[in-house]
């Protein structure tokens, strides 16, 4: 930084040098302001900026459609939709699985030893699966959305994004049952997110 300010000072003194020494009229001087106007001022030409022109590796320019598609795929909305769908599928599978393990269906108080019919079991599995699926979908969408927003705001990608968005999601879910439950939810989900991030990174 000292070197660059030194260079800037040298450049400034170079242009003021002729003024202080006042040379005879025959010594030529470049009129910097005119050159600068063409370089970086009002009269500069409109250039097509591409890495090939400016010293990088020449890359074929992307079409507008391609840019739009890529921008869409990177956007927060797309990511949260993806997480929602993924959560739905995962939740459905999880619900069906737990329904198979933890059966409480078809219990008839008059006849405790009756085995439930296949229709009852399937109906129970379907209901449980759907309920779990919806919950997972909502949680997944919220987490993904908040994480993407926080990451866009911070401009960095590290483990803290997941922790912050875990706190927000847990807090939002728990807040419906009161403030204390909200705080607990925030802490719990943030810790869970931190553990997952630690494992992934």
């Amino acid at each position: 930084m000292a070197a660059s300010t030194g260079a800037a000072d040298a450049a400034a003194s170079d242009s003021t040098g002729p003024a202080s020494s006042v040379p005879n009229m025959s010594s030529p001087t470049i009129q910097y302001s005119m050159v600068l106007e063409h370089l970086i001022g009002e009269k500069r030409p409109i250039k097509d900026l591409s890495p090939g022109v400016m010293g990088g590796l020449p890359v074929p320019p992307k079409s507008d459609e391609q840019k739009m598609i890529e921008r869409g795929m990177e956007s927060c909305a797309f990511k949260s939709v993806l997480a929602c769908v993924g959560g739905f599928v995962l939740g459905g599978a999880f619900g069906v699985f737990t329904a198979g393990i933890d059966t409480n269906v078809g219990f008839d108080p008059k006849d405790p030893l009756r085995t439930p019919t296949a229709r009852e079991v399937l109906k129970d599995m379907g209901q449980r699966g759907m309920s779990y699926a919806k919950n997972f979908a909502i949680v997944g969408a919220m987490f993904s959305c908040t994480e993407c927003i926080i990451e866009s705001h911070r401009g960095k990608s590290d483990w803290k994004n997941a922790v912050y968005s875990g706190c927000v999601t847990g807090g939002a879910i728990g807040f419906r049952a009161g403030l204390k439950a909200g705080v607990l939810g925030c802490g719990g989900f943030a810790a869970f997110s931190a553990a997952i991030e630690y494992y992934l990174r």
Partner: protein, 133 residues
């Protein structure tokens, strides 16, 4: 912020001086001048066109280095740029170009003031050489 400003300033100032000295453009430009020190506009434009390629290449290199250092931490877990990094790069490039433009405008102002001062001093000396101008 200071480092980026310093680099942008250096990119404009040092580059112009360096390439002029290398090509000996002073005498080349001086040949076309009128008596009062005004440069031929065509010559100014040609000079600017020659310098521009170098200037853009230099600015691109510096900008790439600066933004890479600022936005992409050296922990490469995957090949693609993450969302945070690409957002950071967008902001970095926008700031760098804004800086470049403002500094360029300021530099043009200063060199115009400089030339006015030079002109007045030259006229003053021409009129009365004995007097201190």
């Amino acid at each position: 912020i200071l480092k980026v400003r310093g680099e942008a300033a250096a990119g404009i100032c040092v580059r112009n001086r360096g390439s002029e000295e290398r090509r000996g453009l002073r005498s080349e430009a001086g040949a076309e001048q009128h008596g009062d020190g005004d440069m031929d506009p065509m010559k100014a434009q040609q000079l600017a066109a020659e310098l521009e390629v170098e200037m853009m290449a230099d600015m691109y290199n510096r900008m790439t280095n600066a933004c890479h250092r600022k936005c992409v931490p050296p922990h490469y877990k995957e090949a693609e740029l993450t969302k945070g990094e690409s957002v950071c790069l967008d902001r970095c490039v926008a700031k760098y170009l804004d800086l470049h433009e403002r500094l360029g405008r300021k530099l043009t102002e200063l060199s115009v003031q400089d030339e006015e001062m030079m002109r007045k001093a030259a006229i003053c000396l021409k009129v009365s050489p004995a007097e201190n101008c």
